[in-house]
């Protein structure tokens, strides 16, 4: 069984994203939506932590939320995948369960 973890808070504002990474298991997927999208950028104080998660988990970001905050997709950490809302739906289908980190 794999789980989709949905996180919607900036890792620079709240500790929620870090808590999500501490509890997601190998093979799980993590989707960054809303303010969490800002965590996708390379070269931040959070990027090492997120890169470590990429070793054994899939990480996605909602493209609309990334673009809204003025971050071009070329700035994303390598390995993060861009999805739209249709892709978000697919992720909920392809993982047996979801957990929202609010």
């Amino acid at each position: 069984m794999s789980m989709l973890h949905i996180v919607n808070k900036s890792p620079f504002e709240k500790t929620t994203f870090g808590s999500c990474l501490n509890h997601a298991k190998a093979g799980d997927s993590i989707l960054m939506i809303e303010d969490a999208a800002v965590g996708a950028i390379k070269g931040s104080s959070f990027s090492d932590q997120l890169s470590s998660a990429l070793v054994d988990k899939k990480v996605y970001v909602l493209g609309g939320d990334l673009a809204a905050r003025g971050i071009d997709q070329s700035r994303m950490i390598d390995g993060i995948e861009l999805v739209d809302y249709a892709g978000f739906v697919d992720l909920t289908v392809n993982n047996e369960t979801t957990q929202s980190w609010l």
Binding site: N8, A86, F88, V89, V93, L102
Partner: protein
């Protein structure tokens, strides 16, 4: 489950966009449950600027188009002042503010929805 009201937090927008995408792919939505400040998605007294999104109206329209079951938690609604005609009458209030397509019911609807659906997705703050 939608935990936050419109405008203050993006979660209402995200839930609306997600619901549209779910329906566009031919999946079925068993129920959408509005809890906490999420109850405010169901007010008809909202008049946002014309160039802004009209979240409450968009829920109503989506509900009409796809026959969605939009349920507002009664306990949360009582605290926050979201009333339908019956409940307003029962409480001795002189007005109600619910909009078309929403209904007020108990928390059991959330649990039942989670049991009956293949997936439960939570949007909140």
């Amino acid at each position: 489950m939608v935990n936050e009201g419109p405008y203050q937090h993006q979660s209402a927008d995200s839930a609306l966009n997600f619901a549209r995408a779910v329906l566009a792919q031919g999946h079925e939505i068993f129920r959408i449950f509005f809890y906490h400040d999420g109850v405010n998605n169901g007010t008809r007294l909202s008049v946002p600027p014309a160039d802004d999104r009209q979240i409450q109206k968009e829920w109503s329209e989506l509900s009409k188009e796809h026959n969605l079951d939009l349920v507002i938690c009664i306990a949360a609604a009582q605290r926050r002042g979201l009333m339908d005609a019956d409940e307003a009458k029962r409480q001795g209030l002189d007005a109600d503010n619910i909009t078309d397509g929403f209904r007020i019911s108990g928390l059991g609807q959330l649990i039942e929805g989670s049991i009956e659906s293949d997936r439960t997705v939570v949007f909140g703050d």
